[in-house]
């Protein structure tokens, strides 16, 4: 039984990093596909498209920081806490990354037609980034209570 509990603890430590990486990969690929498509239709502004498509890469950075914060000797006493915080923050980051990628793709598609809406079209992606930051910060705060 103890082995299972310890395994879950280790799973919790690595989950934010793994799920954050998956989130960034999927999000960047979604936004990247939109930027490639937009490049074939427009005559300039390619750098902006590529820059926007890199937005979801922050999720893996948050995941790495959470992983290092949770990283400690896993004991039967702290394994449950590590698992809960790690898995849930990882899932939150994953959703944020994927949906941020979709929001960036929509922003790129809109900017292609109307370059003047570039800044405003990024607002949804920025708001989603805010939710990712919430998941990140409070994972750090709550992890301070784990022995």
């Amino acid at each position: 039984m103890n082995e299972l509990v310890l395994t879950l603890g280790w799973l919790g430590i690595y989950a934010p990093m793994a799920l954050g990486a998956a989130a960034s990969a999927i999000g960047c690929s979604i936004a990247g596909m939109a930027s490639i498509g937009a490049m074939t239709e427009t005559e300039g502004g390619y750098g902006r498209f590529v820059g926007v498509s890199a937005f979801p890469s922050t999720m893996v950075i948050y995941g790495i920081v959470i992983m290092f914060t949770l990283n400690r000797d896993v004991t039967p006493e702290n394994a449950g806490g590590l698992f809960g915080i790690g898995i849930l923050s990882g899932i939150a980051l994953m959703y944020c990354g994927i949906w941020q990628g979709r929001a960036c793709a929509a922003a790129i598609n809109a900017t292609k037609e109307k370059p003047e809406v570039f800044g405003l079209s990024l607002a949804p992606a920025a708001i989603i980034e805010g939710f990712g930051v919430f998941a990140f910060v409070f994972a750090l705060v709550i992890s301070a209570g784990i022995s």
Partner: protein
């Protein structure tokens, strides 16, 4: 439900559909559109072809019968699994059925018995043949205008009204699809409307040109060509 991210690059590589209607020059030729559509999977390409085959009047022979047109639409409906595209097909069939009924009645045709055309109103229309608008004003707010244009013998105006109604229907469905196959199919159907619209404008221009040419030829009789009698 299609994969919501299936055609992100394809949709992003197409000019906005609204731009099709405001541009002086077509921003996307059929050739370029076809080239972009090579990104579709074989299955999606087959569905799109069936959809266009049924909805695009350009694909019909001049002597096509009602039965053949209905059969073609039924085949398209069977081969289209996406609920949104099926709804679009049914709505377009409703529109065509109502307009065909208006035309038939104007030509003095006798009330059809049983079923007329295809779609949700195929039984309703024969039952309400005596009503000026087949009691469809609620479901089809445009039918009054269509009847007026038909009676005013304005085929171009009627064509534009129907294209505008079809475009509004597509816009309504497009608001729920961004990067999936339905979004691609709706874009192509909008492009077809734009193409018909542009053709009707070209026909309008041709008529005007003919009128001006006739006027010029009438005036030509009075022109005294220099040296003609020398």
């Amino acid at each position: 439900m299609s994969d919501p991210d299936a055609y992100i690059a394809l949709i992003s590589s197409l000019p906005g559909s609204e731009r099709l209607f405001v541009a002086k020059q077509p921003p996307l030729s059929r050739l370029r559109l076809e080239r972009r559509l090579t990104a579709l999977t074989a299955e999606d390409a087959r569905v799109l072809k069936a959809l266009e085959h049924a909805l695009n009047w350009g694909g019909y022979d001049m002597d096509v019968t009602d039965a053949q047109a209905i059969e073609r639409c039924k085949e398209a409906l069977q081969s289209t699994p996406q609920p949104t595209l099926r709804k679009i097909l049914v709505e377009r069939m409703d529109l065509r059925t109502a307009v065909a009924a208006l035309r038939l009645r104007k030509q003095g045709g006798s009330p059809p018995s049983g079923v007329f055309g295809m779609g949700r109103w195929s039984r309703h229309i024969p039952e309400n043949w005596g009503d000026p608008h087949f009691r469809l004003e609620g479901a089809m707010s445009w039918i009054k205008d269509a009847k007026q244009l038909l009676e005013a013998e304005d085929p171009l105006g009627l064509e534009r009204l129907l294209l505008s109604v079809s475009h509004k229907q597509l816009k309504r469905h497009a608001s729920r699809h961004y990067f999936d196959f339905e979004a691609v199919a709706i874009y192509v159907l909008k492009w077809n409307i734009f193409d018909r619209w542009a053709q009707s404008n070209a026909q309008d221009a041709a008529k005007r040109f003919e009128h001006l040419a006739q006027q010029a030829m009438a005036d030509a009789a009075d022109i005294d060509f220099e040296g003609a009698y020398a």
